[in-house]
Amino acid sequence: MLKVAEKKAVLSGVHFMSGDIACAEGAIAAGCRFFAGYPITPATEIAEHIASRMPKVGGIYIQMEDEIASIAAVIGASYAGLKAMTATSGPGFSLMQENIGLAVMTEAPCVIVDVMRGGPSTGQPTLPGQQDVMQVKWGSHGDYEIIALAPSSAQEMFNLTIEAFNLAERYRVPTFIITDEAVAHTWEKVVIPPLEEIKVVNRKKPDMPPSKYMPFMPDDDLVPPMACFGEGYRFHATGLAHDEYGYPRTQDSEVQTRLVRRLCDKIRKNADKIVRVEKAFLDDAEVLVVAYGIVARAALGAVKKARDQGIKAGLLRLITLWPFPEKHVVEAAANAKAIIVPEMNCGQMVREVERVAKTTPVYPVPKLGGAPHTPLEIFEALRRHS
């Protein structure tokens, strides 16, 4: 790996950037030095920007033959010790799902960006959608937990991409930026802070000699320290159910139970530390909007308009989609008489909200067609249920 002053990796200052470019800059600032991807609208600008910027900081960009290869190479680079990322959109994201499971099973820290467009299939390549929010959680086979963050602006594409790397490294889990075409392609002001204000987390390394190292023996926080290839630990990793040595134990129900439970628990039990939401006008809110991504921006406008008209409306914006911010929804729902969930899909996250809101009525405001909700559309829903 070529070394470079990290200063070049952080373009501190005020910029005018698209969400995609801000995401690429966030990755480089977070220490990402490996990107493998395959062109797809509307995520392509992330790859293009990284192709131009990465060599300047001694990092690697490679355009692979497809998305399956891209995520496989990312996992390989992660195991070789680099912070690694790929970026895609729905169709490519679907192709990656099997190897996302491999990253979960082998606890490979990595960041995967899914810039959502309308689906199913090739769908609407140049228009936004929010139709992959269930795929990001449930797309691969088997039981597992991941972390997914949903930026609403170019600024957040920068900030949350750094956060995604930090969480991926902290918990040894594939971490997702799940956004949409509108956030990715909107050009906005982005403030990149000074180098010293950017907090970067690196994976926990083993402190025992190789002879004592068990690659999948967790510490108390349920996360195992991670040796990488070429460091002399000479360990084995496999997508098969494995014991703490990394050896396949596919017939041993106890070993499989212990492993899969830990893979889920390391996220579930740390959910309070991971989950982030934004609250607006929630203190006395009687009618609540739960939204994320670009839709949350229209929702804030709608809530303000409702307040102007005397409706006690509030907004709970989900920044972490997974793990689902259950406690925050429960808390906000406690005093609300209605919750509305506008989404650019036929109703996906609304089910999660319903699941935890229990007695509070939840109303979906689905929207298809490839355009985000207008503030007025959300305001109308607020008014109807206030």
Partner: protein, 277 residues
């Protein structure tokens, strides 16, 4: 009491992973043995070697060899190895996998890695079928061969793997059978010393799953076929390097040098960083 002496090659294997899962008569053990002999003869630094495998019987080899190793998803070892090699080009990255894994589901990764000339080394155990899944037809199954999914005889033309590798741009290409143990070991040594994308096909017996459906009941009978049919024709036209019941063309077919992807990549990065200074 007899003194217990550790086998001189014990350091190359993970004792905890034994016994291995391979059937009697299987050629995978011969391939593993040849690989370990090559490592030993070259005194390869085991801390700098990464073995990657895909899914299938030979896919377990990665776990048996006592180095940094990774058992990937089906068909993806080359793509995974590409990430490893680019991230740490100083590592020797070897992919050991089967014909179904590398050339059916993984065919695209193989040709593109060869095209880019990424310096990873691929050893393919070709047993003409999907052994671990119970003997279905694969991309190398000969015409008219009987498998569980070609009960009336295979009608798909098989890949000629050495021809494919050469055409895609591999810088070292060889084929041996598990009968050619010395030649195979020599070839693996060469493979480990080449810089570019290198490929060895090892025609390997699968008596339990493939042989017994095709008039070769035992490993010995399959080896007998290799002995009778093998013809060494090194550096001959790979298009003519066929595998038929009568003739298995073996040898080294390509041995050239050209810049590797990682060389070009790191040179380019150094240039760009220099311009910046």
């Amino acid at each position: 009491m007899a003194k217990i002496v550790e086998h001189p090659f014990a350091k190359y294997l993970r004792a905890a992973m034994m016994p291995h899962i391979w059937c009697s008569g299987c050629g995978n053990g011969i391939i593993l043995n040849a690989f370990i002999h090559a490592l030993d003869e070259l005194q390869i630094d085991l801390n700098k070697l990464v073995v990657v495998s895909g899914i299938g019987c030979i896919g377990r080899a990665a776990g048996y060899i006592n180095v940094d190793s990774f058992h990937t998803t089906h068909g993806r070892p080359i793509a995974f190895a590409t990430g490893v090699k680019l991230a740490k080009p100083e590592l020797e990255v070897v992919v050991i996998s089967g014909d179904g894994d590398l050339f059916s589901i993984g065919g695209n990764h193989f040709i593109h890695a060869a095209r880019r000339n990424i310096g990873i080394k691929v050893i393919c155990a070709n047993n003409f079928n999907y052994g671990m899944t119970g003997g279905q037809a694969g991309p190398t199954t000969p015409l008219e061969a009987l498998t569980t999914t070609t009960p009336y005889g295979n009608i798909e033309h098989p890949f000629n793997l050495v021809h494919l590798a050469a055409a895609a741009g591999a810088t070292y290409v060889a084929r041996w059978t598990t009968l050619h143990v010395r030649m195979l070991t020599m070839s693996i040594k060469k493979l480990l010393q080449r810089r570019g994308f290198s490929f060895i096909e090892v025609v390997s017996p699968c008596p339990e799953i493939y042989g017994r459906r095709n008039k070769m009941q035992s490993g010995l009978e399959m080896m007998e076929w290799f002995r009778k049919a093998s013809v060494t024709a090194s550096f001959s036209d790979t298009a003519k390097a066929e595998i038929t019941p009568e003739k298995i063309v073996v040898g080294e077919f390509v041995d050239i040098e050209k810049p590797t992807y990682e060389q070009l990549l790191y040179t380019k990065i150094a240039q760009i960083m220099n311009v910046q200074k």
